[in-house]
Symmetry: C2
Subunit: 728 residues, 2 copies
């Protein structure tokens, strides 16, 4: 799709405009490229980043990457962190001989919470995987997005200069109420301010004072594209149905919306070194928290290749909180000297320095936890929002679904801030000298915080509150951020019966255990079946279908599902695949050898006159030849003599749990927000809009605070009264 | 490296010339690209193949692919076969109602023999992965191979027209005794004969009578490159130190060497259909062997996507063995009709036909087993040979090592033929009616053959005989193909003490179990540490090094290894990495938490003044956080209170097993064939040549037979008296 000539040659219309091509913006573009949404993504930077910026990737982030088919690339290239080692002063320490000893070890990722474990990989590679995925998706879907070849591609060196929102078009689903003017920058303009120094013959990136309030402006090692100048100075108008701000803490989008950000006063200074260490410290390839008695703390994060990131508490702390320090005070040499004091009696030095910086941060906010979580949370924000917007653009569901973005993600942001505060007090504090030392932090308390923090940091603990797409009991406002996200009509509310599947928690992501394909006996992690392709899923657990009463229920359900008025059909456009909007899967508990797919109603093994049966919808919880038995029913808390059914959102979160044959609840749930795929689309949309909820602007303290903490963040804009603003 | 202007502009000199770019040729090119050997690879075909030619990939082939870092691509794209279902007439069959029932199920891959299981993927994708790997390797190693960009790339549409071997240069390691003249073909000339028919609107590849004697000449769906004509008619002379013939059963290379091939007479006809089946047969996604009472047999091979390959015994068999059938007699329709008769009462048909063919094959040779093994064996031939040639080119070891190619691989070829014969008798025969029916094949006998065949078909059972690089007791000629491959000097012979590691069998490939990196606790399959990079490896199993006597032995060994006269140093050129020729690894059995890498002598954790210690050489057999405990010592048959040491070849085969501190045997073993990396290289080579063995030409019946069976095959040529000829 080229430029639209409605007014002049420099006006383009797209469904979604994304501002910012960091991990959050790329996550969004990736979603939209999968779902064939007309999208443009612009970034003021001249190119993607290429090194530095190493980040821990949460288990949940890897699960999401896997749903987009590139987790294996991260898994292969990243450094896997398996163990956290806690180092503290020995209890019998001679005060004249400062030293640290290993006081404890804990697993870096809590066993069994995910099929992935936390890994570290630099952001440049993650951006690469997104870019490759976007390209593949664009080719595969023949997407009518922007670009000479019909592809979505990141437009670098493009700066938004003005923003207008036409409120008169806000309620028109086919209108483009958003208008953004952009200017193409020169190569020079699009290069972030940076200063290259040199150590040991290697160009070194000096990112000094890259505080968390200026993330996008501080230095990264940028490879200059050199190709921007040809377009430089060109101006263009882009009209969009939706706009995403994923342009960081100094967000231009936020400024346009009038959200102001405040930073905390600063009083701690931390240095960061990415080095190839030369050391006799035995745990340099482990994640370590090293607390010296009086010289401060070091966090060790082993990276890919031979690199290690050290977060080092600087003893040159300026006593006047908030005052700017003279940058000449802090150098890689002063930072490593601090590490050397803290890590005594071990020695540590380096010849190769990859990147360094120093932070002045707010009281009660620790860099390490922030750093590992910020990118993950912002990508997960975009992951939460992408499918919702795509469904609105395609008129598959009501725009009310969008409001759940705010209610779900602002809560996560607040949790992250709380975690940051708690954790940083412990990390920056002085270790207790003995049990009588009440001001110091005892190793036991610190370890407990680490263990608890690990669950939070995995991203697996996220639990979304009740809404029109999470059929949970209780008060939705209390469970979220206060936004009203329930159907106005209480009689339409569907509530789960959690007891049918006690470990498939409504509001949380679907846990993954191995099941076997009935037709070919291949084991799959259940999550591998839940690719991010925009479809909702109903998974029926019919139990041991050798039991006549269960077989009868299964057949009865099959009959209802097959009817044309069933939710399985009424929301699916005739020209699209039978499973393109809602996919039906089954996991049964009879022995694999005693049944075949033909024991299931045809709706579970869709027949196509050209391609025969679909062999990829029916699975079984049974022993595999090479990978043991997962005992999926047991782990999901489903009784094989009773069964269960669940609804999963396109992002793998659990919407509903109930009886295996509760067709009525399934039908009612989808009727709450889905739009009919028929001539009555307009009427249905109208009906859905009648159920519309009041929406609160995102101006609470929580979000301001969160934004202040966040690096990247995602803001979704559609119209004045439905600003959907997810924090972080 | 461009053309050499020694005589005229059209003469080029390379270390290795490869004729044929099928899987075997590509395997060789891939090896050589990794090892920076100047290589050209030419193929008379205009392009790689793009569909059809689906092949099962053996466990061992996947292990090899993993050693080249692309097994994961195969694993993701291929169809995984988990179960073999055997179908036979029911014992109480009504003769008026022909039918088959599932009589048994067996695992497709024997559990626990490998970390991979057999999968199916079409050859075009496998060629793609090789081509990508060769490109990556060429870039990474800055290889001085052929190509405008210094890369090794396949030169398509290039036909060798003459061959000359200069015997006067045969003993000069720096000479190019082989001279081959090649002609660049037109696009039309380079397109194999093929005939496209049409069914259901889809272009269909008709490969009828693609017998196993004419594999390369029969049809494949070729995408025409259209770019060859510009060079067409150009002639060129290529001089090489070594030449590889990987140009199939009608090998031009073999013709040049005077090896003639004879085919068997033919009397069975099988049809092959690649279709998307429309069927109610419940096991269509399993590998099935279906024997009807009197209508013949069907083999089902489920493929990637929705495709299934059917091998169908045609009941239109011509009674006169060997006579050519009129091709109009066999069509996809007649083939599927046979399948329908055999598979009654189940129905099977198709609308999409991807490819089909029919074979007239020799008595006692079954297509299915041949098909699944031919490509694997030819790739494994090339895998066996590649590192040996590279080491000779680099003057790392004596050319005597090359002779082991013939002794090792011809034995495998004979085994394959024997297997083919046995298996096909069973598969083509009629099922026994009852226990009194002695002419029929009983289901129990057939099942037993399948189970035994599975071990053979995995590629894991390969067991190379004693040679100068396999320190095994016994008669090397008897264990191989008769070739003399031992050192002439019996006093130099080293013999393993298998009892130190009872399950690390000398002559077989190193089994793989998980061990943890001591420095970061990450679990690795041991084979993942054995990448194909041309290095030999010594793995020391020092046992539980908390035991003082073991710690003392370890330290003693470390001291000897560190000396400059140690095998670890004397064969390694000063300008190359310390572990580039022989890599030292350790797997200990003390609890991971009770030791660190600093409990090991420095030679196990090489220190570099720029990059610090090497953290990737010391592993431990201990419990992992997320993947259980592998019990590697137990599975390797190593006593943790005794320890062991092993030598592995660059292809992961076990050369030697002995005591953990038996430095003298290690030293002696390598002295048998390694060349000193010093000024005395010439002298050492001389010494090695004094030990040279007699070499037999490869003209035995075994090899002729094998070639007649084989599709691809590999022939290595160096000089008249050292023709190294591996069969298949």
């Amino acid at each position: 799709m080229g430029s639209i000539g409605t007014q002049n040659a420099s006006v383009d219309e797209v469904d979604v405009l994304i501002i910012g091509a960091g991990p959050a913006g790329l996550m969004m573009a990736n979603w939209l490229s999968r779902l064939s949404i007309r999208t443009r993504i612009v970034d003021k930077r001249g190119t993607k980043i290429f090194n530095g910026q190493a980040d821990g990737l949460q288990c949940r982030t890897l699960e999401i990457f896997d749903s987009f088919d590139f987790a294996h690339r991260v898994w292969r290239e990243s450094n896997h962190m398996l163990e956290i080692c806690l180092w503290n002063p020995p209890s019998d320490m001679d005060p004249e001989k400062p030293s640290v000893v290993r006081s404890d070890r804990i697993p870096d990722t809590i066993p069994d919470i995910s099929r992935f474990q936390q890994v570290v990989l630099h952001q440049g590679r993650i951006e690469r995987f997104f870019l490759d995925s976007i390209k593949e998706n664009s080719i595969r879907t023949s997407c009518n997005g922007k670009g000479a070849e019909g592809e979505i591609h990141v437009e670098h060196g493009v700066l938004p200069t003005s923003f207008a929102f036409d409120e008169t078009k806000a309620e028109d689903a086919d209108a483009y109420p958003i208008e953004v003017r952009v200017r193409h920058l020169t190569d020079e303009e699009s290069k972030p301010a940076q200063k290259a120094t040199s150590a040991n013959g290697t160009a070194v990136q000096d990112g000094i004072f890259r505080s968390n309030l200026a993330a996008d402006d501080t230095a990264e090692l940028i490879k200059r594209s050199g190709a921007l100048d040809a377009k430089a100075g060109r101006e263009e108008t882009i009209r969009a149905k939706y706009m995403l701000g994923a342009d960081g803490a100094h967000s231009w989008v936020r400024q346009q919306l009038g959200f102001s950000l405040q930073g905390d006063s600063t009083d701690y200074i931390w240095g960061v070194l990415d080095i190839i260490p030369i050391t006799d410290f035995p745990d340099i390839r482990m994640r370590c928290a090293i607390h010296s008695a009086s010289s401060g703390s070091v966090m060790v994060i082993p990276r890919e290749n031979k690199l290690v990131r050290l977060y080092i508490q600087l003893t040159t702390t300026n006593s006047e909180g908030g005052a700017k320090l003279d940058r000449s005070q802090i150098t890689p040499e002063t930072i490593i000297a601090s590490a050397q004091r803290i890590m005594r009696p071990y020695t540590i030095t380096y010849k190769y320095l990859d990147w360094w910086t120093a932070y002045q941060i707010g009281r009660g906010s620790a860099i390490p936890s922030h750093y590992e979580n910020g990118m993950n949370v912002s990508m997960q924000d975009a992951y939460n929002l992408g499918w919702k917007i795509a469904g609105c653009v395609k008129k598959r569901w009501s725009r009310d679904v969008l409001k759940t973005y705010q209610s779900e993600r602002r809560r996560i942001a607040q949790d992250l801030i709380d975690f940051d505060h708690r954790f940083s007090r412990l990390f920056s504090g002085r270790p207790a000298k003995d049990v009588m030392d009440e001001e110091g932090i005892s190793p036991a308390v610190f370890k407990e915080a680490f263990v608890k923090g690990n669950m939070f940091a995995s991203g697996i603990a996220v639990d979304y509150g009740a809404s029109l797409i999470v059929a949970k009991s209780g008060d939705s406002a209390e469970q979220g951020d206060g936004t009203k996200v329930m159907l106005a009509d209480q009689a339409s509310r569907v509530v789960s019966k959690q007891e049918f599947a006690t470990e498939i928690k409504v509001g949380m992501r679907m846990p993954s255990f191995k099941v076997l394909n009935q037709a070919d006996a291949r084991p799959w992690h259940l999550q591998e079946l839940l690719k991010s392709n925009g479809t909702w899923r109903v998974i029926v657990f019919p139990g041991d279908i050798r039991r006549p009463e269960l077989k009868q229920k299964l057949n009865g359900l099959g009959q209802k599902l097959a009817e044309s008025k069933s939710f399985l059909h009424r929301y699916t456009p005739a020209q699209e695949g039978f499973d393109s909007v809602i996919e039906l899967l089954a996991v049964h508990a009879a022995p694999r050898h005693e049944v075949t797919i033909f024991d299931f109603p045809e709706v579970f093994r869709h027949f196509d006159s050209n391609n025969g049966h679909d062999y990829n919808k029916i699975y079984v919880d049974d022993e595999s030849y090479h990978e043991g038995t997962a005992h999926a029913y047991e782990k999901y808390g489903v009784d094989p003599s009773v069964g269960a059914a669940v609804i999963l959102r396109p992002d793998q979160y659990v919407s509903w749990v109930g009886a295996m044959d509760d067709f009525e609840s399934l039908q009612k749930f989808f009727a709450g927000f889905m739009l009919e795929a028929s001539a009555e689309v307009q009427n249905s949309e109208q009906r859905a809009h009648e159920l519309a909820m009041e929406v609160h602007g995102a101006t609470g303290n929580g979000v301001t605070d969160a934004v202040a903490k966040g690096g990247d963040n995602v803001v979704a804009v559609r119209q004045a009264d439905t600003v959907v603003n997810g924090a972080l």
